[in-house]
């Protein structure tokens, strides 16, 4: 780890105080004059993608508890589609009990055959992408040694903690020859080889584009007692699943990547020194700290651009853009979206703590690599269209939001995916609303929730990807927006700011978020969480039926209507009910209690036309909107017309066949 530079210019000391003051003002109060201008290189200077980065020097104090330390060297053989690597990995025991086993993720083995847990669960399909027939990939670890030279390779065995599928080799257990004691560390030297799959489900090769995510033997997460409500410390290990994403301990990465000379590499962290060339190859050296994963991408076609950015909520970051040539003309849109996201999230949640943010735009053939987050590196959607709509901004906003919840707060995406995906979807929605004037389609999203499931659920226990996505992304987002409607935007900002500040680099669980919410708002949210977070509730009020009869009052014939409402869902607060009459008048009532059924009786000299529950559609979690309204009577002529029309259609179809 290189030492930070110290000043060797003592004669400048008298200037130091005013300079410091200006700097502080710049950081905390924004620029002194006019608009926030990106600091750094003047516009028009062509950036070099292979140059070392000054601002990326290691910081003095670690931001996180650094449990892991990786030093990796990897060589990409583009002809064989193979990554050959060796790593020294140090694990610093964060707990209080002796540890006899280490667990490693060998996630490329998810693509080893059609029988792996991932392939069986996903059916070779994920997020509109399909596995390429025969495009399998795998990872082998050929050697594991201690620093003393003791060979532990034979002590490596595959385990399947989630489903016992013997064909799954995505988790390996290493039985150590002697336990790691609390406070101690162990360093292992490992050799590995990855046969890269064709790009599908986040990683692989598409033409000469390579996305290397989950590409090295990565230590599983070790959770200390108390983490996410855990009673006893221990490993948290999960196989590579169809739905689940990732979780790991924080640490440092020093990675050298050797690629063909023509390739440009984008990676987590910053480039520690200029790329070295020789023998038609190029070697990059990247360094990252206080991150829990390391990913990189390479292509000879990347069009590189960079932009330093700082404003009152962003201390200073270099945005590095690796564009597929098809999107070269969209450079400014990517930069703008990234700047706005960093700035707004900085304001809403807290400052982005890293020196770089890399954005990779994969080629059309690499669509499976698109829309993914890694620490300080995100992938946008693949460049499939020359004229993308707002999905370009949406994906940048979403993935940068992940830097906060997946990257820095670092929730467990396997067991509590909503803490990342729903929070990122919420942030994306708010950003696009604030900066692009897009209000989204919240109501459409709500009605599409036909198959709700608990939000705090192991990702592979959802029935399929559609149910996972609908709940973890959409229902979770609607839950957060519902909380915001209840407490107000200002209070919600305080909740998220407090949550971020308290739990950054901290691996919180759902209960930790609830506690922050309760602390900031000063009331219990247990009931709400039991229904909508731990439970699978939505709101579903139905106007079930309307009956009428003629009654006589003071010698006048009046109509008495009996309106029955049913609550099929959870309960949030009193719900308004609107009654509309033929004489143009309306009446409003509240269903204030938590009963499952409610009957309203109205006696009127007018005709009741319709009844609507939640007429203003205030409840975002209401997922069956059609049953919110019931007409007391329908026009018989139109009923006949529609019946004839539909009947003729059916008759014509059947008559055509037989």
């Amino acid at each position: 780890m290189p030492e930070p530079k110290r000043s060797r210019l003592p004669f400048l000391a008298p200037l130091a105080l005013p300079l410091l003051l200006v700097l502080l003002l710049q950081v905390f109060a924004g620029p002194l004059f006019g608009q926030a201008a990106p600091a750094g290189k003047p516009a028009g200077e062509k950036p070099a993608p292979d140059a070392a980065e000054e601002q990326g020097k290691p910081k003095h104090a670690p931001l996180s508890r650094r449990v892991t330390e990786y030093h990796i060297r990897v060589r990409y053989d583009e002809k064989k589609r193979v990554l050959a690597g060796e790593q020294s990995v140090t694990w610093n025991h964060p707990g209080k009990k002796p540890v006899h086993d280490l667990y490693f993720y060998l996630y490329p083995n998810a693509f080893r055959s059609a029988e792996t847990t991932f392939m069986k669960e996903s059916g070779g399909r994920l997020r509109d992408d399909r596995a390429v027939p025969g495009g399998f990939g795998s990872m082998t670890v050929s050697s594991v040694k201690t620093l003393n030279g003791e060979d532990l390779t034979h002590r490596l065995s595959f385990v399947q903690p989630d489903d016992g599928n013997g064909e799954d080799r995505t988790v390996a257990r290493l039985r150590l020859s002697q336990p790691v004691m609390p406070g101690e560390s162990v360093t292992l030297l490992m050799r590995f080889e990855v046969r890269l799959p064709r790009v599908f489900a986040r990683m692989g090769v598409a033409g000469d584009f390579l996305m290397a995510g989950q590409w090295y033997p990565k230590l599983a997460a070790y959770e200390t007692a108390g983490t996410r409500g855990r009673r006893e410390e221990g490993w948290n290990t999960h196989q590579y699943h169809g739905n689940s994403e990732f979780y790991g301990n924080f640490g440092t990465y020093s990675v050298t990547i050797n690629v063909p000379e023509s390739h440009i590499v984008a990676a987590t962290g910053f480039q520690a020194k200029p790329a070295a060339r020789g023998n038609g190859r190029k070697t990059y050296h990247f360094y990252a700290e206080d991150v829990h994963d390391f990913a990189w991408a390479a292509s000879p076609h990347f069009q590189y651009a960079e932009e330093p950015f700082a404003d009152r909520h962003v201390p200073g970051v270099k945005i590095k853009l690796y564009l597929d040539p098809r999107h070269a003309h969209l450079k400014d849109r990517y930069f703008r979206a990234a700047r706005l996201a960093l700035s707004r999230y900085g304001e809403w949640f807290g400052p982005y703590p890293y020196a770089t943010l890399s954005i990779v735009v994969p080629p059309a053939a690499g669509r499976g690599a698109g829309g993914m987050e890694y620490p300080t590196l995100i992938t946008a959607w693949a460049a499939e269209s020359d004229r993308p709509g707002y999905e370009l901004e949406q994906v940048v906003a979403h993935e940068i939001a992940h830097q906060y919840w997946y990257g820095i707060v670092a929730s467990n995406e396997a067991e509590e995916a909503w803490l990342d995906e729903a929070f990122a979807s919420y942030a994306e929605f708010r950003l696009l609303q604030a900066e692009y004037g897009l209000d989204g389609h919240l109501k459409r999203e709500a009605v599409s929730l036909k198959n709700p499931a608990p939000l705090k659920l192991d990702a592979w226990k959802f029935t399929d990807h559609a149910q996972y996505a609908a709940n973890v992304y959409t229902r979770g987002k609607l839950v957060l927006l519902t909380i915001e409607r209840e407490i107000g935007t200002a209070a919600m900002r305080r909740v998220l700011k407090t949550y971020y500040e308290r739990w950054k680099f901290g691996h919180p669980g759902t209960d930790d978020f609830r506690q922050v919410l309760e602390e900031v708002t000063g009331r219990s949210w247990q009931r709400f969480f039991d229904q909508f977070v731990y439970g699978k509730m939505t709101l579903d009020y139905e106007v079930a039926d309307i009956r009428s009869r003629v009654v006589e009052k003071d010698g006048r014939p009046l109509r008495e209507y009996t309106v029955r409402l049913v609550n099929h869902g959870g309960w949030l607060k009193p719900v308004p009910v609107l009654f509309k009459f033929g004489n143009g008048t309306v009446a409003e009532a509240y269903w204030a209690d938590e009963s499952k059924e409610k009957t309203f009786r109205l006696t009127t000299d007018s005709r009741l036309l319709w009844v609507a529950v939640d007429p203003d559609q205030h409840f975002l979690l209401e997922n069956r909107l059609y049953n919110n309204v019931l007409l007391a009577e329908i026009d018989p002529a139109w009923k006949m017309r529609w019946t004839v029309l539909a009947g003729k259609l059916v008759e014509t179809l059947l008559g055509w066949a037989i």
Partner: protein, 270 residues
């Protein structure tokens, strides 16, 4: 022209066949329309009133389409349709066997001829209808994927329509041709003649045979549209009357279509 005239007169002398088809028609359409009416009532009574905001109707349609994707919702609908199709698959050929026999056999009393036809020809007719159904559906094998591809690629409703039109035309022309030729196959079966020679007969005289079919079709279309428009316009009691009148006209036209072709077939064969 002669065949059309004689066929029309002959239809008037087939009260049993027309009556049997009419009874069948009511037997399956009345429950079908009841079922459709109940579904229509359900949708209409939930249709959001405009006072609640325009986008509610849009959401309603969106929700409705999503709901249709739910297995427990579409399965009963498709099941009902399939059950109707199955009933028709057995009963339509059986009843038409009666109609064809009745047209062929002028000397036997009408009812007796009709029932004899049902007994003698039903099974063969059912098999031939199954074969006909397979032939009718054959172009869908290519048309449906092509239409779906076009649907995905098209950006405007006009493009969707333009892409669908040639396939729709192909299906319509092919269906008409297959149905027309099968009438002659059924004639041959009824008259104990060789099926292939009947096909050859229809092919050789495709122009007059098509002419007869088109003439009956034109009258059917005009009558059908008039009745349909009237039933939409006069919703209420008049539409009930039309609802009862409509099948009579349609059954009559259907028997006329067969009878006219049969006259032509007999006239040329003798």
């Amino acid at each position: 022209m002669n065949a059309l005239k004689e066929g029309f007169r002959r239809t008037g002398r087939e009260p049993f066949a027309v009556g049997a088809l009419l009874v069948f028609h009511f037997a399956w359409t009345v429950p079908l329309y009841r079922y459709i009416e109940s579904r229509v009532t359900e949708v209409m009574s939930r249709w959001p009133p405009p006072e609640l905001g325009g986008e509610r109707a849009e959401l309603f349609v969106y929700d409705f389409l999503l709901t249709l994707q739910d297995r427990s919702v579409w399965l009963p609908l498709v099941g009902t349709l399939l059950a109707c199709a199955l009933v028709r698959l057995v009963l339509v050929p059986a009843l038409e066997a009666g109609v064809y026999q009745s047209l062929s056999d002028e000397r036997t009393p009408r009812g007796t001829a009709f029932i004899r036809g049902v007994r003698r020809l039903s099974v063969s007719f059912i098999w031939l209808y199954l074969l006909r159904l397979a032939l009718l559906a054959a172009p869908l094998y290519w048309a449906v994927p092509a239409a779906l591809r076009n649907w995905a690629a098209a950006e405007t409703p006009a493009q969707i329509a333009a892409g669908l039109a040639p396939w729709l035309l192909l299906v319509v022309v092919w269906s008409a041709l297959v149905k027309l030729l099968f009438i002659y196959v059924l004639f041959a079966l009824t008259d104990d003649e060789r099926l292939l020679s009947a096909l050859g007969f229809a092919f050789r005289r495709l122009v007059p045979v098509t002419g007869i079919a088109l003439a009956v079709f034109a009258v059917s279309l005009a009558a059908g549209l008039a009745l349909f428009a009237a039933s939409l316009y006069w919703a209420g009691f008049p539409s009930v009357v039309l609802f009862l009148l409509d099948p009579l006209v349609r059954v009559w036209l259907k028997v006329w279509g067969i009878a006219a072709q049969y006259r032509y077939w007999r006239a040329r064969r003798i």
